[in-house]
């Protein structure tokens, strides 16, 4: 899961990015509205966390521009402007959720989780596909036989993205886009290496290779 974080506060921004990374997300941090809008338009994100009082371009305008361009990117507004009418206006402008500052980190993570689940049309809190159950808090996976396997950060992000999109053909580019941050070294060979390591941990048959096209997780067995 790759997130766009648009926050101009020089202390809060990096801090939030760190918290979100720790929670298993790839995070791109942008500190102004113009870059924020551009990133949201050009990169493949799974959700965006948007401040309203941004230099360059107000957050609400960035959101409206995304929406009028047809983007359905799930967006949480994170702002000190949290009067009720401001929340309503934020939602009317196309936000999916609105969180007032100051907030607790767990609250943000819970809302983010709920937002992503809504976007994936998934009702149950636990991500469970093809016999695997992902423990998002501890960032490990439970196999069908009950054995719990530890995952590294990238492995976790890769597996989660594949489990969220079971049965779909996922190209290496798409996987790279959703697993790595924008400034990371994007070598598709690295994805191959991680797939190989994942197969060792969760079993070969769960990730099918389509030569020249990409991978399919879980096959036909959900």
């Amino acid at each position: 899961m790759r997130l766009l974080l648009v926050e101009d506060d020089a202390v809060l921004g990096p801090r939030l990015r760190q918290d979100l990374r720790r929670a298993g997300y790839a995070v791109d941090l942008v500190d102004n509205g113009i870059d924020g809008q551009f990133q949201g338009e050009t990169e493949a994100y799974d959700a965006a966390i948007l401040d309203l009082g941004l230099p360059g371009r107000p957050g609400l305008e960035v959101l409206q521009n995304w929406r009028s361009a047809g983007s359905r990117l799930p967006v949480i507004i994170l702002t000190a402007r949290d009067a009720w009418h401001e929340r309503v206006d934020g939602l009317k402008a196309g936000a999916d959720d609105y969180l007032g500052k100051p907030f607790h980190q767990e609250e943000l993570l819970a809302r983010l989780d709920a937002l992503l689940r809504r976007a994936q049309e998934r009702a149950e809190p636990q991500l469970s596909v093809a016999g695997l159950t992902l423990d998002e808090e501890r960032q490990c996976v439970q196999l069908a036989d009950g054995e719990s396997v530890e995952l590294t950060g990238t492995e976790f992000r890769l597996l989660r993205y594949m489990m969220v999109n079971p049965g779909k053909l996922l190209s290496k580019t798409r996987l790279t886009e959703h697993v790595y941050e924008g400034d990371a070294d994007r070598d598709s060979n690295v994805i191959e290496a991680y797939i190989k390591r994942l197969r060792q941990k969760i079993g070969k048959q769960l990730i099918e290779t389509r030569r020249g096209q990409g991978y399919i997780f879980g096959g036909d067995t959900p």
Partner: protein, 440 residues
């Protein structure tokens, strides 16, 4: 009486009555004079004719030449009379006088006069008399004519004139009423626009109005704009202040959540940041409230409520709360959109916080706005009810939220001179908040 239309009608009525009365009287008077002059001229001619026909013999007996007198003077009480009086005491009178007399004084030659007298059979007469000298005799000629027929005609004319005048008066007043009504049509339109303004359907008045009321309308528009801008500016400034204060506060909160922060410090940090936050929220919200009679935007329940409920559903995403709302579909009059959002937001937030699965909300508007919000939570005891609306009072310290909700609600209700009642919901079992907002 303070109706402009009525004042105009009465003013016009009085001036018309005065004017027409004056004209009527002038016409009547002139007619009378003209008639009198014509009659006097005729009487004079007759008198001169009589004088020419007068013969006085050597003994001083007066006679009139046979056939010189008009037949009208022969018929008894015909209305035409004469009397010739000589200075020697002899006199000649018309046969028409019958047994009556024309009373008159003897005049010296060259003297003339005209006057009204009472003649035979109660006839009002106009009499002309003149003194002449014929031969060696001084003669006074008196000729009179009955005026009753003429006076009757004059009276008839006057009555006809009066009838026409009254008719015209009513016609003119009727036309005036229509003119006034047409001229006041823009004012009625203005009244309707002001109602729309109160509902917030429009944000300024149309300035295409008659010249006389235009300055008023322009001024109202200017005031609306000034007030709206002032409110907008102060709200914007408050938003900036909130932004500036909450940034550092947010960092402190994050610091308290940080796993690397020592547990003892965490406690302290949490307590102080919570107190700070409560103060900031409270003061910011209070400062943001517009109050009754504000010029801001209006609240349209059909448009705003679903969005507000979505906000709440996101906040309470871990619960499946069903919001059931009944509200009018048009704008609510006389209440600021932001204020009502703050009010409903806090009420519904509070209800959702305590509800198991259902929150009900009813909004009605007649002369006042009634709002009922109830939930199916565990409810509250009497003692808790009393303490509940005190500022910052929290029933349950463990649940999220800052406990300001109902205190803010109370403040808004006071701002709108309303009433607030808390009790147990008879149907749902939880807390029921009933409030009314006066709009004047």
């Amino acid at each position: 009486m303070n109706s402009l239309a009525q004042r105009l009608n009465i003013g016009l009525g009085i001036s018309l009555i005065l004017l027409m009365g004056l004209i009527g009287w002038l016409i009547y008077d002139q007619n009378q004079r003209l008639a009198d002059e014509l009659i006097v001229t005729r009487l004079q001619h007759d008198g001169e004719g009589l004088l020419a026909a007068l013969q006085v013999d050597a003994e001083g007996n007066a006679t009139l030449v046979e056939g010189a007198i008009s037949a009208i003077y022969q018929r008894p009480l015909s209305g035409h009379y004469f009397l010739l009086q000589l200075e020697n005491g002899g006199s000649l009178r018309s046969r028409s006088l019958w047994d009556a007399e024309l009373s008159g004084t003897t005049l010296v030659p060259g003297e003339q006069h005209t006057r009204r007298i009472n003649g035979p059979a109660e006839q009002p007469l106009l009499m002309w008399a003149g003194g002449y000298r014929k031969g060696n005799h001084n003669v006074t000629v008196m000729v009179a004519e009955d005026l009753s027929q003429l006076q009757q005609r004059l009276l008839q004319n006057a009555l006809l004139l009066l009838a026409l005048t009254v008719g015209f008066l009513f016609l003119i007043l009727f036309i005036q009423r229509r003119i006034v009504r047409d001229s006041f049509a823009p004012l009625r339109q203005l009244g309707r626009e002001i109602e729309q303004l109160e509902r917030g359907d429009i944000d300024r008045l149309t300035e295409a109005v008659p010249l006389e009321v235009q300055p008023l309308v322009v001024e109202v528009n200017r005031l609306l704009q000034v007030m709206g801008r002032r409110l907008e500016r102060s709200r914007h400034a408050l938003g900036n202040l909130a932004h500036a204060l909450k940034g550092p506060l947010n960092l402190l909160t994050q610091l308290a959540d940080d796993s690397e922060t020592p547990a003892s410090l965490k406690q302290e940090l949490r307590r102080h940041t919570a107190a700070l936050q409560q103060q900031i929220e409270q003061q910011l919200i209070r400062a943001r409230l517009a109050g009754a009679g504000s010029a801001g935007q209006r609240f349209n329940p059909a448009e705003e409520l679903p969005a507000l409920i979505t906000v709440l559903e996101r906040i309470y995403h871990h619960k499946q709360i069903k919001f059931e709302c009944h509200a009018p579909s048009q704008n609510l009059s006389n209440i600021d959109r932001h204020d009502l959002h703050e009010l409903l937001g806090n009420l519904l937030d509070n209800a959702a916080k305590w509800a198991k699965e259902k929150v009900r909300c009813v909004i009605e508007q007649n002369e006042v706005i009634h709002i009922i919000v109830e939930d199916d939570g565990s409810g509250v005891t009497e003692a808790e009810l009393a303490a509940l609306t005190e500022r910052g009072h929290r029933l349950d310290e463990t649940r999220p939220g800052h406990g300001l909700g109902l205190a803010i609600v109370k403040e808004i209700v006071e701002l709108y001179h309303g009433t607030l009642e808390l009790d147990r919901s008879p149907e749902l079992g939880g807390l029921r908040v009933r409030l009314s907002l006066s709009l004047q």
